[in-house]
Symmetry: C2
Subunit: 351 residues, 2 copies
């Protein structure tokens, strides 16, 4: 898993040139959505969503800031870059349909590495029913940069914003939290060991779950499908990219409400708890501030509780309050603390 993808300087990229590279990477793309009228190859792509609203979101991933090529396999990187964008579209209760992908690539990278990156991008596209319809490829003076824009469609009265949470609404989250952060900590630990002695091979057995959470997150299309099936429209929704605390505070600030959540309700996976204990970190603090889980955090009306209470993929973790500057966290010992949007730096200082 640990390898230096920069060790083999290749000139193939220069030989292919910009046009050749785009053509090479996009030649096998087949459009699958009827709304994708024209894909790669003209000045712009053309899309038509009949009687739907268009949702647009964009993300920029920078080598050395958002990913480390030493432990991030290229295929996973491509997959994750798409996942994080689709997650934003799902968080609007909309369906992603198209993406554009722009890359800045240093000529230290091999064509094979870029092919793997595209394999990951196209795998995610296939799994989530999305077409790659355009993009730009250019040189980089330093590392790899990936910019993805996702477009999706939603019905006008089904879109969910961040500002609709009301007093007494239930706060829910899908899946479990903190795993992606624990995966990152494991990878960072092994990287240090590798840097000190490249002959020691990392042993990740038993840690698969948290590594996958970090390296290959899945956006929660299934939760959006569930909303349609059970007839629930959340009052507010966001995806958990910065961490539960920070993202819940976003909802509260935009909805002008407060919240109370309960430590014993926060969903944690067994592996996350084990790794956290091994690393002497509090798994709940990791769930609150770790981020990158790409779960959906949403609020529903109390009236919808019956519809959602037996859904195994969703946990009810608290409720919305009227007091708009109060963000409360109730610990297992029933102590009340203030939630703050502190991010992952705070975990390591505490931990």
């Amino acid at each position: 898993m640990l390898e230096d993808k920069n060790e083999k300087p290749v000139s193939e990229l220069d030989e292919l040139g910009e046009f050749g590279l785009i053509k090479h990477l996009t030649q096998n793309i087949k459009l699958q959505n009827s709304s994708s009228l024209k894909g790669v190859g003209d000045d712009a792509a053309v899309i038509e969503y009949t009687n739907k609203q268009t949702v647009v979101t964009t993300d920029l991933l920078v080598e050395g800031i958002h990913f480390d090529m030493l432990y991030m396999p290229m295929k996973h990187l491509g997959y994750k870059a798409v996942s994080v964008n689709l997650s934003d579209v799902y968080a609007m209760n909309a369906m992603p349909k198209q993406i554009t992908v722009s890359l800045a690539v240093s000529n230290r990278m091999s064509v094979e590495a870029l092919e793997e990156l595209y394999d990951g991008i196209l795998l995610a596209c296939n799994i989530y029913g999305v077409d790659l319809v355009g993009g730009d490829t250019t040189s980089s003076t330093s590392g790899l940069i990936i910019s993805i824009t996702a477009l999706g469609e939603g019905e006008k009265d089904k879109l969910v914003y961040r500002d609709g949470a009301k007093e007494n609404d239930l706060i829910c989250v899908s899946g479990d939290l903190g795993g992606a952060f624990m995966g990152l900590q494991l990878l960072e630990r092994e990287k240090q060991i590798y840097n000190e002695n490249p002959k020691v091979q990392p042993d990740f057995s038993g840690y698969d779950y948290v590594l996958e959470r970090q390296l290959k997150p899945e956006p929660r299309k299934d939760v959006i499908d569930m909303f349609a099936e059970i007839g629930v429209k959340p009052t507010a929704m966001i995806d958990v990219s910065d961490g539960l605390s920070s993202d819940l505070i976003h909802i509260c600030q935009q909805s002008e409400v407060g919240c109370t959540i309960y430590e014993d309700k926060i969903p944690l996976d067994f592996t996350t708890i084990n790794v956290a204990e091994e690393m002497k970190l509090d798994p709940v603090v990791c769930a609150l501030n770790g981020g990158e889980d790409y779960e959906l955090l949403f609020t529903i009306s109390l009236d919808d509780y019956e519809k959602i209470k037996d859904q195994k993929r969703v946990a009810v973790i608290g409720h919305i309050t009227a007091d708009k500057e109060s963000y409360q966290f109730v610990s297992k010992s029933e102590q009340v603390q203030e939630l703050t949007a502190q991010g992952w730096n705070a975990i390591l200082k505490k931990g």
Copy 2:
């Protein structure tokens, strides 16, 4: 004009943080298009084009590859980054309505420099009637990276692709060519002088036109408006970003046709000719291969000649032929040469 924007390391960016930065830069944005339903501030922006098709294009600009901060004023850079994207939308015979802007910023940059960049971005948005609806701001390990995606709307039967050129169609281009390349050569020359002796101030008097062509290109909305007014729909269209040769060959390859263009028809500005002569370059070669003019290159049916012949902003430079691998350039002395997509490297080697 020549200044090192990196000389003042500031920590304000770190103090503002990512959320603070986005908020700071986007707080005064007012949406102006009825199709922009939701802008910055949620997981995604929401757009609705009633009964129109959506056009999407994206570009990535990398410091050191696409721009040099030494001679590119930040406001111009922002303006140009928007212009080049809008140009792609106009080249579909569509109207741009929204953009998203993602930035990767090194913490060497000051908040003031970013404000200037956004001033330029928003100035272009205002002039061309476009809303900034979303984006992402992140750290960069090296230089500045700007990724812009533009969305626009077009009527289904009015969109113009690259693949519709037919035998006998007339080849037309708006404005004049080669100016942006000459502007770049001037700036590069002054940069060398500056690097050798920073006390020598550059003298650009009389060169304003070509400098503006390079630093602050204007996308040709007026030409698209003209098509609507005079009732002409081009058969194929592209914007001149790589150079006349290369972009005309794109049209021919996608339309499976050939072309003949005439040296004496290629529109050149007086300043472009003067600067080229001063630098011992052939201005026509610069027009063919220089690129970055962001003019519209299009083909029209012979039947539309009467409608377009008196339009001062358009020149007819040749015609489409049936011979699909023949791209002919007829010189003033009536010699026939083969056009090749060689780009600007070729000019300097020849020159």
